[in-house]
Amino acid sequence: MSPTTAAPSTQDLMDSLAFQRASGVVQACEVTRAYAYTPAYYQEQRDAGVAAVNVTLAATDARKGISSDSRTFYHVVDSIEEWHRVCARLPVPGVTIPVRTAADIEAAHATGKVGIIFGLQGAGSWLDREVVLLRTISRLGVRIVGLAYQRRDIFADGSGEPSNAGLSVYGKAFIREMNDLGLVIDLSHMGLRASMEAMELTRHPVIFSHSNVHALVPSVRNLTDEQIDAAVATGGVICVTAFTSLLMANVSKGRRPTLDDYVAHVDYLVQRVGPDHVGVGLDYAHQRVQDDLEVHNRLHPELGRLNTETIHAQGLDGPAELVNLTARLLSRGYRRDDIQNILSGNLMRVFRTVWG
């Protein structure tokens, strides 16, 4: 299927966009901060047919430390309120915030709204040993939760920990709690062993909201074949990310990966496990600021030096460019049903199962 890498015609792009908008897109990993969720950016998402987006709450602050004190929980609350405040000022039809059920996303798509899913990465940085805060954020509308973020916390080792120590006693208990509460477990950033143990333990499908294929790019953040197969065994979804350092082995040269690199990961997954377990999780932030990335660079050097210019793949830099992916999958002969599932259907299946 190699001759299809030629640039698509304008007509192809328009057809692809129409198809994409009809399908609806569920973007599994969005790190845009609330202040950057401007009316113009909201409109960009709507134009791309984004039915729902999993926004990471308070990512930067939560990553600053590995304490589990109330201070960082406060940042999460702060972030939730900021999202409500910002979204209340958007033009009609506005957003559905927060998304609580799969039906909320269907309704958002039907009425041209964007569904805002509250998600958390690295909840282990601020969750306490008691389950109180997990239940509280669930009441406040959080629906997707990842525990360890690169480092060790009280629940697990992240993928940046060399000891790869797996889940702790609390970690195992919290996997069950998340099942009971109907929260989707997000295993991106968890260590290899911790993710395998979580997938062994969970009663529900899990997601990797933004992780790629280790066989293609051997980053600690990417998934081994063993992890891919285990995710499929839970009925879960792996959402391919456009984040540069997970698409290219060496990012320090200032090069940027392309759409070809991204599609290679999609192809690999589809060939290994079929089209029903792949999604899109760009890890995109509108108006990223270098200061946020400097914190990241300092704390997580194993992911390479990041800068705002080159952090996303060329050709997949934001929702407006999603159509490039859709057009490429169409031109490579993917079935329309399968593309629709990759854009939204597979995640919707997980959400229906876990959230009810």
């Binding site: 109330s70 201070r71 929980f73 406060y74 609350v77 702060d78 939730i80 309120e81 409500h84 609580r100 008691e130 109180v132 805060l133 239940r135 509280t136 009441r139 406040l140 509308g141």
Partner: protein
């Protein structure tokens, strides 16, 4: 789903009826010696309470004491809603608006949910709208209103977590608690100062969010200012009459008149040091005197119950009040004498009702005092449903 819900509601309904008959028989037997006339009077009182429903404007019961037996007592006495005071203990520990005390409220909310879920038969219904209270009344359940005292102890200057707590179901908010904080003066501050500029903003935010402002524990002058400023009526969930008992916690005639002018409601407290300053345990008669004073002064539209009763109160629950506020509460509260005699638990509501009947209060006035006065304020203020926030 709906069918099962209906069935379980039906079962609950019959359980209430059966337990009531049972209870009546028990009551009847123990009262036999006192004579049938007594029993008839009490039965008449209880029947009125159940017909109108009773809202308890200030409940100090902690989650550990929310036992099936206590809930049955509430149902038998016709209580349909309680305004809880969430996590007062931790919140009162310091004068910070630090996140630590916010955490204690988050924990208290969770603890209440856990206590409610543990009870059989969905007997308790957490409140988000006035309809929930009506529903509780219709189905023989008890509605729990999440109320908070002392915003100055847990609210930040950004007033940010106020919104979060609204999302989590909090519907009544008291501002200053006994002492000075960033918003206002408490009743124990001699300076009797004004609302702060941040306090004015808080009042506007509470109005906008549709949360009921509770002025018990707030200083005299600040409370008058809030009533002037607020777009909505307020409640004083547990305060009595200063002319009858000159505690700093009680209300001057000027405050009582402002309550009437703003359509607000005073919940009458059964906490002993607010009923009498004499060194004796006050009685239901003393309690009724406060209620009657307000009714005589401003009519029957501005009073309700606000006992601050705590079921199964433990001595340690009173340590904080005794040690932190001896100048206001006397420092000698004990589990045995914290409340008026005969206003000490749900079953005593009948004694209050009997006294009111003795005073010649007509039924329509009782309906107001038990239920409608509070409902008037709640329906006016709780305009944001927030039901979608489950």
């Amino acid at each position: 789903m709906g069918g099962r819900d209906r069935t379980s509601r039906k079962i609950r309904y019959w359980r209430v009826i059966v337990s009531t008959i049972w209870r009546r028989q028990e009551d009847g037997m123990s009262q036999e010696r006192a004579g049938t006339r007594e029993w008839t009077r009490q039965a008449e009182a209880v029947a009125l309470q159940r017909r109108f429903g009773v809202i308890q404007g200030c409940e100090a019961t902690r989650p550990y004491a929310l036992t099936p037996d206590f809930v049955r007592q509430l149902q038998n006495a016709g209580f349909v809603a309680l305004n809880l005071s969430l996590a007062p203990h931790d919140a009162r520990k310091g004068l910070s608006s630090e996140t630590k005390t916010f955490m204690s409220i988050v924990e208290a909310i969770d603890e209440w949910h856990a206590a409610v879920e543990k009870l059989p038969g969905a007997a308790i219904l957490p409140v988000r709208t006035v309809d929930d209270i009506s529903l509780a009344k219709r189905t023989g359940r008890v509605a729990l209103i999440f109320g908070l005292q002392g915003a100055g102890y847990w609210l930040d200057r950004k007033l940010l977590v106020l919104r979060t707590l609204h999302r989590l179901g909090v519907r009544v908010v008291g501002i200053a608690y006994m002492r000075r904080d960033i918003f206002a003066e408490g009743t124990g501050e001699k300076a009797d100062g004004s609302l702060s500029s941040l306090g004015e903003r808080l009042v506007k935010d509470l109005n906008r969010l549709g949360m009921v402002i509770d002025l018990s524990h707030m200083g005299r002058r600040a409370s008058l200012e809030v009533m002037e400023l607020s777009e909505h009526p307020v409640i004083l969930s547990h305060s009595n009459v200063r002319a009858l008992c000159p505690s700093p916690r009680n209300l001057t005639d000027e405050q009582i008149d402002a309550v009437a002018q703003t359509g607000s409601v005073i919940g009458l407290a059964a906490l002993s040091p607010l009923v009498t300053l004499e060194s004796r345990r006050p009685t239901v008669g003393d309690f009724i005197a406060h209620l009657d004073y307000i009714v005589q002064r401003v009519g029957p539209d501005h009073v309700g119950m606000g006992w601050e009763y705590a079921h199964a109160r433990r001595p340690e629950d009173l340590v904080m009040s005794n040690s932190l506020y001896p100048d206001i509460l006397g420092g000698k509260l004990t589990v045995e004498t914290a409340h008026c005699e005969d206003v000490d638990g749900p079953q005593d509501m009948a004694k209050v009702t009997e006294r009111l009947l003795d005073l010649g209060y007509p039924e329509d006035v009782l309906a107001k005092i038990f239920f409608s006065n509070y409902m008037r304020v709640f329906s006016q203020v709780w305009t944001r449903a927030g039901r979608e926030q489950g």
